[in-house]
Symmetry: C2
DNA sequence: TATTGTTATACTCTATAACTATA
DNA sequence: TATAGTTATAGAGTATAACAATA
């Protein structure tokens, strides 16, 4: 058997994906800094925006994180008064998380930042290319059954 | 002015990019675990494979990391005996990093894991789609002058 | 003074596991 | 016993800044 060529970092599609993805996320994180929230916090706030209230364990499932991680995250959001936490009426163990008025007001501002950020990076592609990119990414997500919301 | 629709997480290409990219990286990290190295360490080892030796500051530039971060990384690689560190003959401040024999033997194994990992995720795309995906990602990299090697 | 590299400190994200309270 | 949630501990990755040695 012939000895095989050692592949380079740039030989992998994963390399290019990571390069672009990390820049998109890092730039977004910088934008969010001005509003005092992290990317993970933005995801929580956006998740809560569409529902009345959500249990930490449900949030953990939706975000593909452990309960411990969610606990720490929500602690920070509570300290910033962006969410509220209440004991569940029925189940003494359960809690429910919901947006505070302040948090609810913030979400549209953050969504606008997310829009700007996405535009900044992907306006270099044509509308057709953007559709194509999304189609291919969703194809991989479906094929591999990727479910969690990416944060890191 | 009409009130604007609040965009969803999934409205952004950055979301899909991050979702796939994080899964590719996390899965790769699991594969590397078996060899006792992290993704960041793999990048360092692969960078050193093609050169005789490299100063930490050059490595920091190439990887888009601070010198402090590289220092910590190379400390771990030294502890694992995968690299060597020598004082520079000419400049008393400077050091040079290079692969140890053990590190050099390991790189082809890690490269094979990287190949497998990339295949696993992108075999769901046709050869033509893969070319297209790479072309679009490189287009963004060029347009936005993204230079660093992504690690996180 | 400027540069190279290390070290100290800190923060985010994440996981595992121990723990408390309740069911 | 099982579940919901918190807390403790740990480790990777990152940044900033202080520091030592040398230029």
């Amino acid at each position: 058997m012939a000895s095989r060529r050692i592949s380079e970092l740039t030989d992998h599609l994963g390399y290019w994906l990571r390069l672009v993805s990390n820049h998109v996320s890092t730039t977004f994180a910088r934008r969010l800094e001005g509003k005092g929230v992290t990317v993970a916090e933005w995801v929580v706030l956006r998740e809560l925006y569409d529902v009345e209230a959500l249990a930490p364990s449900r949030l953990a499932e939706a975000m593909g994180m452990t309960r411990g991680a969610i606990s720490k995250l929500s602690e920070r959001l509570l300290a910033k008064a962006l969410i509220d936490r209440e004991a569940d009426a029925g189940d003494g163990r359960a809690h429910m998380l919901s947006l505070s008025a302040k948090g609810r007001r913030l979400v549209p501002e953050l969504a606008a930042l997310a829009d700007e950020n996405d535009k900044q990076f992907f306006e270099h592609l044509s509308a057709k290319e953007r559709v194509e990119m999304r189609r291919m990414l969703e194809k991989i997500v479906d094929a591999r059954q990727l479910k969690d919301i990416p944060v890191s």
